[in-house]
């Protein structure tokens, strides 16, 4: 898992939250709803830096005071590792603001586009933004 110096130099660019399209093991729109964007703030409870996608979990307090543990899916760990992410980029206890798109099945799951860290940096999480066909979804790209 050696990363060369020139790759390291490129990491700063990616930390500006500009993410290239990411290929994983499923299309975006077969799981997530581009018409249902969300922005949630809460406390990280767990980070899974594993294939085929990273997952992290955030406790979010609703208007009714109830806390819901949301799951956020990002890109494959290999891809975002090359963009500068590490296993401890998000740590339990970190207060973060996550932008993404909710799962079509209505569960507390979303595709993460960006995460704003406690230090103010906003990182792309490899799943892209609304204008990006991040998972390579042909359906979202207007084919069907």
């Amino acid at each position: 898992m050696r990363i060369t110096s020139s790759v390291a130099l490129g990491l700063a660019f990616f930390f500006l939250a500009v993410s290239p399209p990411v290929f994983a093991h499923h299309g975006f729109s077969v799981e997530f709803d581009r018409d249902n964007p969300l922005t949630l703030t809460g406390t990280v409870t767990k980070m899974e830096f594993m294939n085929p996608h990273i997952y992290f979990y955030v406790d979010v307090k609703g208007k009714d005071g109830k806390v819901v543990n949301w799951a956020f899916e990002g890109g494959p760990p290999n891809v975002i590792y090359r963009q500068g992410w590490r296993k401890d980029t998000l740590k339990p206890g970190d207060v973060v603001t996550v932008k993404g798109f909710r799962a079509k099945d209505g569960t507390h799951l979303a595709a993460c586009s960006t995460v704003k860290l406690p230090d103010g940096r906003e990182l792309a999480a490899g799943s892209g933004g609304a204008s990006q066909n991040a998972y390579g979804s042909a359906a979202a790209d207007g084919k069907k």
Binding site: P21, G27, H53, A103
Partner: protein, 238 residues
């Protein structure tokens, strides 16, 4: 009698003196000759642009047969074999975007190691032919021949469960791939793949993608490690 012996000796001596200049002028042995020039070195880590819908690269839909068109019309990304963590297939593996692949090249074997699912292709470059009866497999049977700066790879015996892209372009087990890996320079390869499948397409068709050298290493990947998406996928078609 003396002259009969002397002539060959003079010729041999002349050839010995001239040979270095012949090489310096770049005159190469004929193809197939054991002294033929070494093929280009394509060892390294490479990546081509992610191509989720192959028809966009082609500029239009492939020349479907009625059967191929009907299959494509009803296909749903929900059924993409990759969502089930099945192998990506030979051409789609090249098109897998920012998950790179590594070429390991020897005189007799040209190997492509895909980061995607840690799968691989073995392309025989030792002059063999395809077996007479090829059992379909995920990556098929591949043989390659060097044509100057280009490796021409011929693949048959492909499992019809792979897709050609995320958009749902499928193929049958009669798919025949011809790929040309042309070395442009030390950091670039021009890759052209021709798809021939009489069951799905009325005629062969091709796309060309640039392959660029990557300043990284291929990394580990296991689709099953923490697969949680399958339960959340939804069909877009009934």
């Amino acid at each position: 009698m003396k002259n009969y012996f002397r002539a060959p000796i003079v010729c041999a001596a002349s050839l010995f003196l001239v040979l270095p200049f012949v090489n310096a002028c770049g005159i190469r042995a004929a193809p197939g000759n054991p002294q033929a020039a070494a093929p280009p070195d394509l060892n390294g880590v490479w990546s081509a642009p992610f191509t989720p819908d192959i028809s966009k690269t082609l500029g239009h839909q492939p020349p479907f047969t009625p059967y191929g068109a009907a299959r494509f019309a009803k296909e749903d990304e929900f059924d993409d074999p990759l969502t089930k963590c099945l192998p990506i297939g030979p051409a789609r593996g090249i098109q897998a975007g920012i998950m790179p692949f590594q070429i390991v090249q020897t005189p007799s074997v040209f190997t492509i190691l895909f980061e995607n699912q840690h799968t691989f292709r073995i392309i025989h470059t030792d002059g063999r032919s395809h077996p007479k009866d090829v059992e379909p497999t995920w990556f098929g049977d591949s043989i390659g021949k060097w044509d100057g700066d280009t490796l021409v790879v011929d693949t048959v015996g492909l499992d019809d469960r792979t897709w050609l892209d995320t958009a749902g372009h499928e193929h049958s087990d009669q798919l025949h791939l011809v790929e040309r890996f042309q070395k442009v320079d030390n950091n670039n390869i021009k890759w052209t793949v021709t798809f021939e499948d009489p069951k799905f397409f009325t005629e062969p068709w091709s796309i060309t993608l640039p392959i660029a050298r990557q300043n990284t290493e291929i990394m580990s990947y296991s689709c099953e490690e923490n697969e949680k998406d399958r339960a959340h996928l939804r069909r877009s078609k009934k």
